[in-house]
Symmetry: C2
Subunit: 384 residues, 2 copies
């Protein structure tokens, strides 16, 4: 392992921030180079002697490396504590689970709030635009630095699922299996449109200061909150919102004003307010941009199957949620069709749920069963 | 006709701003009273001697009275120039078409930018919160002032359709027929959520000044543009966005920055920028609030059919668009079921189109045919 690894003593889990040594920066799709390069990560469980039980977990747009343990910023449980843990599909007594913070993020990996070596000030908009492939390249460097040649699985939902697909395209030789959840092979016009609304909301905030807010000791909190609110609607189904909130009021009767009269308004405002406490506005710009640029077929001559021709040895599992309108099941079917066309083995399950895109964060029995079954059979096939 | 009516000499169409005399203010659902009261309107065609050919057109959230003629603010054709005009479903040679600007609006009817008689300054947030029923009450006062006892039809799409439903509930004796297009009997949790995003975007703008921007000679243009962008996505179907824009770029290659790389980004930015030139931010707050408060069943003991029990003599036509996800067909079906339960005669057509909610603004042959057929049979039934 090259570079220094910080671990948190007293924490049952491992990880820290991996600093790549000078000269080992990240080559980016834009042509730029990111150096110094740091990748923050957490691990759960122990790498076995044959180094065959490592599972890389990739996070979604606003996720982080704290997938299976308490998030130190929010004090809340890890975002995938329904999947990673004793007795859960990714049980650390069996698997060595690695979760990283994507580059461009704001939880320790090099991102727009990191110090720009040229100016000794935070990058801000001088940070290079990154891609999903760049994120994956940094992850592959970390996996290699951890001494792992082959991952038992790479798994993720939403943007995490896109990273999974990119892994399969770029590093198939490092994968035994790949689990792509609630994702799409490219961002649609509607996906881009919603992200553009979020970016414009941030940039409209007078405290954004053309991205230099860190230097000026302000934060575009209102704009970031609006961005989050708009995005959050796309993570839930219309039916789930109706079931959860309907037209229920916060108080007896209407306010006849612009307070949060309806519970759904209060809920959304809370989502916005809680988000700005844990997330960086420029990271939001860069990561949404990476998503919008994502087009796996576009990277392979317009033919999605071409992305997977070297991944014939990888066992794929594709999962979608019936009420996900952000990345609808049809997009997962496109992935499965391309995998089939490329001669890959792929199982596909559409989970019936009204909980929308964010169902992969939730305790959904059918989803739990699908993950559990796939990981168990994969481990068996790997001889674990 | 009481009150002064301004007409535009040289204009083929009629209308102007109707100022109700002192003492004839508007009683509002909130308990407040709006006085002085002005209602801006346009007319197309001539009221016949029996006063039986009047059709009231109700506009959507950001519409106005310039339904069938050039909008003097934008210089662009009227928003319903595919429906109102020679040879079109509402031909002014046959019908006397009236279109008003809703109260709370910003095109001449009393709204938050109007002068508050108490302060002699623009109302701003001192403007009372209004409802769809308040809008309709003002329209009914105008119709009466124009000397019309019974409307041949009241017709509108989206918020216009909600006004149509409210007309049927509150003034059935003034209606011969009612055409409700792409509407819903109440705002859903998701509808409220999207509106709340728009309101928060406006209020997040430092130039909003707690609604007093008019007094301070600024305008919350960035916030209003973001609100419009978010809302605009909901007016189009995912399929239409994909067909129109897909992932097409503005230029050759990506910018690797935050310019509008994709055509859909550029389109949305244009929608935002064009909107702020013609619309008032506070009006946006008030009208979205009126929509969120709309719940016709809630007004009638929780039973939608109760809203229509006095409307058994009214001929209803309910139209929806198959790809409308803002007010999906299921909501129109709810309306039809309630009309049937109340014993009303209602025809219902779901128009197959991928153009989404905004299809009612567009030249859709099936939609045109449905409107044409309904108005023709209604006119015949009325003996015109």
């Amino acid at each position: 392992m090259d570079g220094a690894v910080e671990t948190s003593p007293g924490d049952e889990t491992g990880g820290g921030v991996h600093r790549f040594p000078a000269g080992k920066g990240l080559r980016l799709d834009s042509g730029a180079r990111l150096e110094p390069l740091e990748v923050a990560y957490k691990t759960y469980g122990v790498l076995n002697e044959t180094r065959t039980n490592a599972v890389l977990v990739c996070h979604a747009l606003t996720g982080d490396q704290h997938a299976g343990s308490v998030n130190p910023v929010t004090g809340r449980p890890g975002w995938w504590d329904s999947v990673i843990g004793a007795g859960l599909p990714l049980d650390p007594s069996r698997y060595f689970v690695i979760a990283t913070n994507v580059i461009g993020g704001c939880m320790g990996s090099t991102g727009p709030a990191s110090v720009n070596p040229k100016t000794k000030a935070p990058y801000g908009l001088a940070f290079p635009v990154i891609t999903i492939a760049d994120m994956v390249r940094a992850q592959a460097m970390l996996v290699e630095a951890l001494g792992i040649e082959t991952l038992l699985a790479v798994v993720g939902g939403s943007m995490g699922g896109m990273q999974v697909l990119q892994w399969a395209a770029d590093y198939p030789q490092m994968l035994f299996s790949a689990v792509c959840i609630a994702a799409a092979p490219r961002h649609s016009a509607q996906n881009i449109a919603f992200h553009e609304v979020g970016r414009q909301a941030i940039m409209a905030d007078a405290d954004w200061r053309a991205g230099a807010y860190e230097t000026e000791s302000v934060r575009p909190e209102k704009g970031l909150a609006v961005a989050r609110m708009a995005a959050h609607i796309t993570y839930l189904s219309e039916a789930a919102l109706q079931r959860k909130f309907g037209r229920e009021l916060q108080r007896d009767g209407l306010s006849w004003g612009f307070d949060a009269d309806f519970q759904v308004e209060s809920y959304l405002r809370h989502q916005g307010a809680a988000f700005v406490d844990r997330f960086d506005a420029n990271s939001y710009l860069y990561i949404t941009r990476a998503l919008d640029y994502f087009d796996l077929a576009g990277q392979h001559g317009g033919v999605l199957a071409n992305a997977f021709v070297k991944a014939r040895g990888v066992r794929f599992c594709v999962l979608s949620f019936s009420s996900d309108w952000l990345y609808p099941t049809a997009e997962s079917r496109d992935i499965v069709r391309a995998l089939n066309a490329a001669g890959c083995r792929a199982s596909f399950v559409e989970i019936e749920t009204d909980k929308g895109h964010d169902a992969f964060f939730l305790d959904e029995p059918l989803f739990d069963g699908a993950l559990r079954g796939f990981f168990a059979s994969t481990a068996q096939a790997r001889g674990l």
